[in-house]
């Protein structure tokens, strides 16, 4: 007999809520024992709470439900829709943004867990009208078709060049491993990134 619930009624959100409940139980115990509870995260929610996020160099005040992922907060209240959701569970990497300069899947991170770390999205990569070299190279080498995976790809490739200024083709493939592109732009993406690498001394 069909279940009235959706097939994945145990969604990530519910799961996270579940772990949240567990965490509050732990916190309660910690209070009782007056143990080192200082490093326990504060209990928040389930209603919306105010949050300050540092996004693309600016402090942003937002009101979010604790169950919202960073991807949802970026795309919703902050209207930074360049970050895309493809699978919503960390399997396609379309939602990749930087957290203190490191690429992360923003669909796998609760906004409340971002804390003081600096978020950089695709909208924050260019300097004014001057595109990041990876963005320029993506255009020049046609490293995209539909463009849906592109923001995530660009963020991972730009982060690679920050870490490794002179990457090999395998380095590029490793950097975008886990990013899915159904249009098949991988060869042109590798070509684009290799074109902007800075040869070492």
């Amino acid at each position: 007999m069909p279940n009235a619930d959706r097939t994945h009624s145990v969604t990530r959100r519910l799961f996270l809520r579940g772990t949240g409940a567990t965490a509050s139980g732990v916190a309660l115990l910690a209070d009782m024992h007056i143990a080192a509870a200082a490093d326990e995260p504060p209990i928040v929610g389930p209603g919306a709470i105010p949050l300050t996020l540092t996004v693309n160099g600016r402090n942003q005040e937002v009101s979010v439900e604790p169950c919202m992922t960073l991807a949802e907060v970026l795309r919703g209240p902050l209207d930074l829709t360049g970050t895309k959701i493809g699978c919503d569970r960390g399997a396609c990497s379309a939602c990749t943004v930087w957290l203190d300069g490191a690429p992360v899947a923003s669909c796998m991170l609760l906004a409340v867990d971002v804390g003081a770390r600096a978020v950089t999205t695709i909208e924050g990569l260019a300097h004014g009208d001057t595109l990041h070299p990876v963005q320029e190279a993506f255009i020049a080498h046609d490293a995209l078709q539909c463009g849906y995976c592109t923001p995530g790809m660009v963020m991972s490739c730009a982060a690679l060049l920050e870490r490794v200024p002179n990457p090999t083709a395998d380095d590029v493939r490793a950097a975008i491993d886990g990013h899915l592109c159904r249009c098949g732009a991988y060869p042109h993406i590798v070509e684009a990134v290799l074109a902007v690498r800075k040869p070492g001394p």
């Binding site: 009235a4 097939t7 995209l144 249009c183």
Partner: protein
């Protein structure tokens, strides 16, 4: 009029064509053009790399609600009651819609039951959980082989109307339904196959299996519907704005003028976003009910369950030939399953590719309790090629002929002959050794396979070109860009005509308020809309020449547009800047709307707005693989893809698209399979972790060669590339695997387990 005719590099001559009044003069070959045929950058590249471009999922009209569909978790059940009262009372809920009714049969896991629109996505999701569905489980079958058995559970009962497609329009009952099997369809059979086999000196036969592939568009199916008293506006991730408008007008009893369909950026379709679909209707009904815009976006699980798929197939193919390789008979028996739908046939490929007087087809749709199949990149021909091109490879082996030599004898296409020649040289075909000749555990091999696809044209395809007094130029059409770059190509076509640069042209597309464009399926976008754009631009140019000729002291016939100028008598020194010329226009704008003329040489086939050019599209692909015979792992080392699309409009964009076709083919060959659990009837890998797609590390070097094949058939002579580039990849890999290990893998996906089974090191999958 004399048109260039033939393949560049293999002798381009001329052909005389009668062209209808009002068509522009012939375009010379690409070498003689300035913008067309050049690797122009895509116009929306900047918007895409900065995230500025808006996909349907990014559209947010004020007051927008969020929707979700409640779907069946059972593969087959009869609804007894649906109670939505609690959902309706839920905070934030603005509309609740029961889709299934009492006694409705939910025929597959994922079938829609009800839908909710609420102020937030979380509220909509929460409300869904409050809907109570009472339903009685029915026997089900999710395995095609079991579904064919006499005692199998029936997906449709005898006499039951077959709701076979997404909009639940019953199809004609012309074919018999026996149990779950609808068929056989014998369309295209010819000659006397028994006689053909009787005279054959060599016969090869084999059974092949392909598995269900899902589209996995990175942008999910998405629609934002805004129903208002004065009309309906819909933003939709669609392959056919004009078609969706037609469907909406019909379903909701509106005038075409009351419906507007828009799509800006579009995150992939591959056939699955060709129609309005049930989900599209649901979004519109929710918007009508709520009196607010409604956004409905599938999650990844819904994408796999209920957005279409490439049907699985079982194919038995038999080919008879004479000693010299000429074919005497081809017989194809196929059973395929498009779930609760039809359309799993694959016969076109074996029917059309090779010269053979006798062909018999018996293809059958097998119903199972699974989501409905749909068109997917080269539908029919992609699974068909996997079987047929391996059978031809087998035949070459039996005859002791090089597979390319055999094809030279049986393939009448001069285009593919040239493609084979170029690809053989590029791929190093002469290095190919006897099957299984490598000694170590890892064995290398090279294989080849061919593609055929109709050169489709949609004649109901229109485009407006406007020149404004300040010299700016606009191109307007409803045609949508799925990522192939049609907007850029339209800019090239119009820039060429006006002697301008592509960046001088502003293109607005993806909106039914502009002249209706063609569908972007069937690889027909470029073929259909670029001639209309060129003709419109040429006519505007003639009108402009008439208006500015007096100021130039010339007759209109003496004028030409080149290098940003309007010049007299082909002398670049005499004339004026384009912008100065347009300043003298009588009115603020000159504008012409044109539609796609018929192919100058006529069409081979035509049905309403849809037509097919005289010559098919081809393509030949060469694969090099290494196979680890201990682990069964196949690595594709290299692909050489030689393709044709008439006049190539933009080699950069074409290369991207061919690489995409090849990669989807590698993915189909090695990885992709929808897995449904026999006991629960539910898909086990409705995600992107266990449903495997090709990734950057599985991507081999892909070398693309695109022919310039001039036929003199339209104002641009351009045709499509999307589907032909996908069809040959999997069989080329399979033939390379055979060449590597000397054993044929006749089943997709060619996983390590499948390879080890073929090598006799593991039991075969039942």
């Amino acid at each position: 009029m004399r048109f260039p005719f033939g393949i560049a590099g293999a002798g381009v001559g001329e052909i005389e064509r009668q062209i209808p009044d009002g068509e522009p003069p012939p375009l010379p070959v690409n070498d003689a053009l300035r913008v067309i045929g050049k690797p122009v950058r895509r116009q929306d590249g900047r918007a895409k790399v900065t995230g500025a471009v808006r996909f349907t999922v990014d559209v947010k009209p004020p007051g927008m609600l969020h929707a979700r569909i409640l779907r069946s978790t059972s593969p087959n059940a009869r609804v007894r009651a649906i109670d939505t009262a609690a959902a309706e009372r839920q905070a934030g809920v603005r509309a609740v819609l029961a889709i299934a009714r009492n006694d409705s049969i939910l025929r597959y896991a994922g079938a829609p039951i009800a839908a909710v629109a609420a102020t937030t996505q979380a509220a909509a999701d929460a409300a869904l959980r409050l809907i109570r569905v009472d339903a009685a489980a029915l026997p089900f079958v999710v395995d095609m082989d079991i579904a064919r058995r006499a005692n199998a559970a029936l997906v449709y009962q005898p006499g039951e109307a077959l709701p076979l497609n997404a909009v639940e329009i019953p199809v004609s009952g012309a074919l018999p339904l026996t149990g779950n099997v609808r068929g056989p369809e014998t369309l295209g059979s010819r000659g006397d196959v028994e006689q053909g086999f009787a005279v054959a000196e060599v016969i090869v036969e084999g059974e092949y299996r392909t598995r269900t592939q899902t589209h996995c568009c990175m942008e999910p199916h998405a629609i934002v519907a805004d129903w208002r008293a004065d009309g309906l506006t819909v933003w939709m991730s669609t392959q056919f704005t004009a078609g969706v408008r037609r469907e909406l007008a019909r379903v909701f009893d509106l005038k075409l003028s009351q419906v507007r369909v828009k799509v800006a950026a579009m995150g992939g379709g591959f056939g699955s976003k060709s129609q309005l679909g049930v989900y599209g209707q649901i979004a519109v009904m929710l918007s009508r009910q709520a009196g607010a815009p409604v956004r409905l976006v599938f999650d990844r699980e819904e994408e796999h369950l209920d957005s279409g798929n490439r049907p699985e197939t079982w194919q038995q193919i038999r080919i008879g030939a004479h000693r010299d390789g000429t074919l005497s008979a081809i017989s194809l028996v196929e059973f395929g399953s498009a779930g609760v739908g039809v359309g799993a046939g694959v016969g076109n490929f074996a029917q059309t590719l090779y010269a053979c007087p006798n062909f018999s087809l018996a293809q059958n749709d097998v119903f199972i309790n699974a989501g409905r199949g749909s068109a997917m990149r080269g539908p029919g021909n992609t699974p068909g090629a996997f079987a047929m091109e391996q059978a031809i490879d087998d035949l070459a082996g039996q005859l002791g002929l090089d597979p390319l030599v055999l094809r030279d004898r049986i393939d009448p296409s001069p285009v593919r002959r040239e493609e084979r020649r170029l690809g053989a040289a590029k791929s190093g075909w002469d290095r190919r050794h006897a099957p299984g000749a490598d000694t170590g555990a890892t064995k290398r091999g090279i294989g080849v396979a061919q593609s055929i696809w109709g050169a489709n044209v949609y004649t109901n395809a229109s485009c407006e070109v406007r020149v404004l007094r300040d010299g700016s130029v606009l191109v307007l059409s409803g045609v949508q860009d799925l990522g192939t770059g049609i907007g850029t190509i339209l800019a090239q076509v119009v820039a060429e005509e006006f002697g301008l640069l592509p960046e001088d042209i502003t293109v607005h597309i993806g909106d039914t308020d502009f002249p209706a464009g063609p569908p972007s399926y069937g690889s027909q976008t470029t073929a259909s809309i670029t001639p209309a754009a060129r003709t419109a631009a040429w006519k505007v140019k003639q009108a402009l020449f008439r208006q500015v000729a007096p100021a130039l002291g010339a007759t209109p016939e003496q004028l030409a547009a080149r290098d940003g100028k309007i010049i007299i008598g082909n002398d670049p020194a005499r004339g004026m800047n384009f912008r100065d010329a347009t300043a003298g226009m009588r009115t603020d704008q000159l504008s012409v709307v044109e539609s796609r003329a018929d192919d100058y040489g006529g069409f081979r086939r035509r049905s309403g707005d849809m037509a097919g050019a005289v010559n098919d599209l081809g393509g030949v692909q060469f694969a090099e693989v290494s196979v680890d015979t201990e682990t069964g792992s196949i690595r594709v080392e290299r692909i050489v893809a030689v393709q044709d699309c008439g006049r190539p409009m933009n080699p950069k964009l074409i290369e991207s698209q061919v690489m995409g076709g090849v990669l989807m083919g590698i993915s189909y060959a090695l990885l992709e399979e929808r897995v449904i659990d026999q006991h629960t009837g539910r898909m086990m890998n409705a995600n992107l972790e266990q449903y495997k797609l090709v990734g950057p590390r599985d991507t081999p070097p892909i070398e693309v060669i695109v022919l310039e094949n001039y036929q003199g058939q339209s104002a641009t002579d351009a045709y499509g590339i999307a589907e032909p580039s996908n069809i040959a990849t999997a069989p080329a890999i399979a033939n390379a695997v055979f060449n590597a290990i000397g054993v044929r893998v006749r089943e997709l996906p060619m996983t390590p387990a499948t390879v080890l089974a073929a090598l006799g090191r593991l039991p075969r999958r039942s």
